[in-house]
Symmetry: C2
Subunit: 245 residues, 2 copies
């Protein structure tokens, strides 16, 4: 049997017991393939489903009524989509597949047996939610304090690091399934300026673009320049309760 991608992500942090693995496995019972642009969560409607992302990328966006959008968050394989919507009766943001992929939908109520019978997994989900918050804070911080140039570099560096963890990327070259318009929406700048920055970086020999791939040829210089470091390598699990089986 193929190991669940959620289990394989979670076991980066904790060794799960047999019982815990079984409980998690129910999360991936139903497996559905989803095409690019498929909507996982529609704003204004109750987000009754949680999704485990098995393969592909998903993205969360806000949309103002004047049409301006903000790309808020990117989900990669092994991540859980919908934890942020748990407390809301109606979703505020649209979540869509950014690439073709495979998802495992499950109702929110699937959390009940976890909470009832697997306190340590409940702690794990709280910890995951906390890391989601930290990721958002970092994104907010970069947009609030950095120049457009630095934001773009920071965004690409962060993406590369996350892809390494998800085992989807190799070295300094990785797939970047975003148009320049979407990059602009992620960074809070116009697509035209994104283009000017990217062309400038190509001219300066800092990146190579080979759509849909990109290579960061000056990665280490960039990391020093924008003071980037990977903040999500470890998780603190010391406060978790004991597994109950």
């Amino acid at each position: 049997m193929v190991k669940s991608c959620l289990v394989s992500r979670l076991t980066r942090y904790v060794d799960l017991t047999e019982g815990e693995q079984r409980a998690i496995a129910t999360f991936e019972r139903d497996e559905v393939s989803a095409a690019r642009n498929h909507v996982l969560i529609e704003p204004g409607t109750p987000a009754t489903l949680i999704h485990v992302l098995k393969t592909g990328w998903a993205a969360v966006r806000s949309e103002a009524q004047d049409g301006r959008r903000q790309l808020l968050r990117i989900y990669l394989p092994g991540e859980v989509i919908g934890l942020a919507e748990l407390g809301l009766p109606r979703a505020l943001h649209r979540v869509t597949m950014q690439t073709d992929g495979v998802i495992c939908p499950l109702p929110r109520t699937a959390l009940r047996p976890i909470l009832d019978e697997h306190p340590r997994l409940a702690g794990l989900f709280m910890a995951i939610g906390s890391l989601d918050q930290i990721a958002l804070r970092q994104h907010l911080s970069s947009i609030g304090t950095m120049s457009a140039n630095h934001r773009l570099k920071f965004f690409l560096l962060q993406l590369r690091t996350r892809l390494l963890v998800a085992n989807v990327g190799m070295g300094d070259r990785f797939q970047l399934p975003f148009s320049q318009i979407e990059l602009g929406e992620a960074l809070g700048i116009t697509s035209i300026y994104v283009n000017k920055l990217l062309r400038g970086m190509v001219r300066a020999g800092e990146i190579e673009i080979d759509r849909p791939y990109i290579r960061l040829t000056k990665r280490q210089e960039w990391e020093a320049e924008v003071n980037f470091h990977d903040d999500f390598r470890d998780m603190d699990i010391s406060w978790f309760p004991k597994a109950n089986d």
Copy 2:
């Protein structure tokens, strides 16, 4: 006995059982007063403590090594500080008291008995974490897509709404314990421009400043202009497990 402020906030969403109330009450056993600028969480160190904020305001900031800061999040009375740091072995952001206040520190391990014995409370904490995420998304979205003018209006409107919920503010006049420098850090603009915007608003009769108070005289017009609405009135608790006592 005075009702715990955490209990009173949580019961906005769910009716807690006796046992649940007792469990939550342990969170507020130790009560400490904390002065403005008191550090609750220091970046680079393990955030071993969670804090329940009883009175006063707290603020989360990031700080780059070039000194640029971003105000990421404001906590008001009844809120729980430190849930975002749960998964991290070391904190990334500084959390300080923004005003004098009273806090209840407790170790992370205080969550264990909750997870073990009160699955519904565990669900409640997950839901609170989710609302924290949504708040961050809204902040990110406003900074990424709005003009400085709209950001400032949105920020003040949001604050007012949250203060109403926390029962700290009345009507359209409320306390604003932030310098213009800090407002700039919250909004991603310079304090000088904050000043120009505020002066312009005063001149236009949109606000009245009576430090440290502010009145939004054109609140409804603002709400229409920036398309503001309160997204945190209700919580979805339908997926919670049953209380076990």
